[in-house]
């Protein structure tokens, strides 16, 4: 591997941040001017949203289940097993629902976007699109961005609901809790701020998944090997960004709402 001077390395990274920022800004701004590719938005919503539903539902269900199982053991020591519903609901809605849904979607869709656009890039389909008078960012990136933002929001709600239901199933069937107690405890523990926090995070995660996935796809170089590299980078970078942004949003929300 050739040695790269620190100056060149820094320039390359700053250039990448600049390119990413321009791509992200254009992807957002394109929606406010014509032409709008609404058919592509709906297609992407189907692929991203409906296509990810089983994965997200399974992830949410078993996360809620295992959370109930583990927390009940700890809460038993304090004689507070009735608080299991509260712990599962708060954890799912504020943290695990948004983050795990984001990470699962990053694995499924950021990789998909990077490989699809990357393949188009290396086979000159992106250039062909430009040559035929179509802006590839408007046609390919903007629909994916808006579709991901809308669908991740609803997928997170599904994950939260299914997670709480999973926790209920474990609590009732394996821990001998009362169904009414579990749901009452869950309902009473959740406040407006928790819901806002839990539903703000997917908006940021979706933005990261779509823009990072599309950025690596649109900048793919080096044939099929390059497509593989872009796919891996898209998943790794978007996953790391989701976790970092999750912390920042949590801190900001605690600052605003006090919890």
């Amino acid at each position: 591997m050739p040695f790269v001077s620190p100056e060149d390395f820094a320039k390359e990274k700053i250039g990448a941040v600049q390119d990413y920022s321009i791509l992200a800004w254009r992807a957002i701004a394109n929606f406010f001017s014509s032409p709008r590719y609404m058919a592509d938005v709906y297609t992407q919503m189907d692929l991203i949203g409906v296509g990810s539903l089983p994965t997200i539902a399974l992830t949410g269900f078993f996360t809620g289940s295992v959370l109930a199982l583990q927390s009940a053991t700890s809460l038993k020591a304090f004689g507070a097993t009735t608080m299991t519903g509260s712990l599962v609901a708060l954890s799912m809605v504020k943290e695990l629902g948004p983050v795990l849904t984001g990470l699962m979607l990053a694995g499924r869709n950021a990789s998909g976007m990077a490989s699809e656009l990357g393949s188009m890039k290396v086979t000159e389909q992106i250039d062909a699109m430009r040559a035929l008078g179509t802006d590839p960012v408007r046609k390919l990136v903007t629909p994916r961005l808006y579709a991901t933002v809308v669908m991740l929001f609803f997928l997170t709600i599904v994950a939260d609901a299914v997670g709480i239901a999973g926790g209920a199933l474990v609590s009732v069937t394996m821990l001998g809790m009362n169904t009414s107690t579990y749901f009452h405890s869950s309902y009473r523990s959740l406040e407006y701020a928790d819901i806002v926090q839990g539903l703000t995070k997917p908006l940021f995660s979706a933005f990261i998944i779509a823009t990072v996935g599309c950025y690596f796809g649109m900048n793919t170089k080096g044939g099929t090997q390059g497509v593989g590299r872009a796919t891996t980078q898209a998943v790794v970078v978007s996953s790391i960004f989701i976790i970092i942004v999750d912390f920042l949003v949590s801190r900001a929300m605690i600052g605003v709402f006090g919890r």
């Binding site: 086979t123 389909q125 062909a128 430009r130 040559a131 035929l132 008078g133 179509t134 802006d135």
Partner: protein
């Protein structure tokens, strides 16, 4: 370099005589490695410029520069009299409505059928469905591929993909067509079929075109034959004639080594050129 009158920055002032393509001292480098250096040439209306040269000589880069898909580091590129190096991407999209491009590996959209690939530009312009279908069939008939209208690119052979790519490029009746190695990677028989289509477009529509090829045989077939609309086949120009609208540009290591007519190319005494042509 032969035919110096076609090179350089001395452009005719009358719009009707203005060249369709002008490269004026164009240079571009990738990672500090020069790919094209001080390239100047012109292509007049109705001319076909065949671009020859060894692989890696900057031919495809020149084609992408001509369509505004890349920006040069220095120099000017005038297409239809407009300096595309100063244009924004949005302005370029409008200009590209007058330009058709055939890519080296066809670059068909693999998620779209042949019909939707060919109709892509018309669909973007919201042309009525019935008219679009009619024009797609017409374009596919031109490339003799109307039976493949419902197929997907993955179901086509390399030669068929190239023909669909030509149909996609000509459907909007462009004023300029850029063929980037239309016969690259094809067997000799299929290559001749593709060259015949390029010739048909040249002789039937008289469209100005730039044709990259690394096959000398294809280049001279284009220069020494014409398309007969009566027999719907190409034929040799009588008395060892050549097509006067077909010119040659030879590139080597990013520089022009020849720019002129077929006769000047064949009669050139340049040692490198003679070795290349032999």
């Amino acid at each position: 370099m032969a035919d110096q009158s076609r090179s350089g920055a001395a452009f005719p002032s009358k719009p009707s005589e203005a060249p369709v393509v002008v490269f004026d001292n164009v240079s571009i480098a990738f990672d500090l490695k020069p790919v094209l250096q001080n390239i100047s040439f012109q292509v007049k209306h109705g001319e076909t410029l065949i671009i020859l040269g060894p692989a890696g000589g900057g031919k495809s880069v020149m084609m992408k520069l001509a369509n505004g898909l890349m920006k040069p580091d220095s120099g000017r590129i005038l297409i239809f009299g407009e300096d595309i190096t100063q244009m924004s991407e949005k302005e370029l999209y409008k200009l590209r409505a007058r330009i058709g491009m055939v890519f080296q590996e066809s670059a068909l959209f693999d998620s779209l059928s042949v019909e939707n690939n060919v109709a892509y530009r018309l669909n973007e312009d919201h042309v009525p469905e019935a008219e679009t279908h009619e024009r797609v069939v017409e374009a596919l008939k031109f490339v003799e591929l109307e039976q493949a209208i419902a197929k997907f690119p993955s179901e086509l052979s390399g030669g068929m993909r190239r023909r669909v790519s030509i149909a996609r490029a000509i459907i909007s009746k462009p004023d300029l067509i850029l063929y980037d190695s239309p016969t690259g990677g094809l067997d000799p028989i299929t290559s001749t079929t593709i060259i015949e289509l390029v010739m048909k477009q040249r002789d039937v529509s008289h469209t100005t075109s730039l044709v990259i090829t690394h096959r000398l045989q294809d280049a001279f077939t284009l220069a020494m034959n014409r398309f007969n609309t009566q027999t719907n086949a190409m034929e040799r120009i009588p008395n060892d004639g050549i097509d006067e609208s077909t010119k040659f540009l030879v590139l080597n290591e990013g520089r022009i080594v020849f720019d002129g007519s077929t006769r000047e190319l064949v009669g050139s005494n340049d040692p490198w050129l003679r070795e290349y042509l032999s």
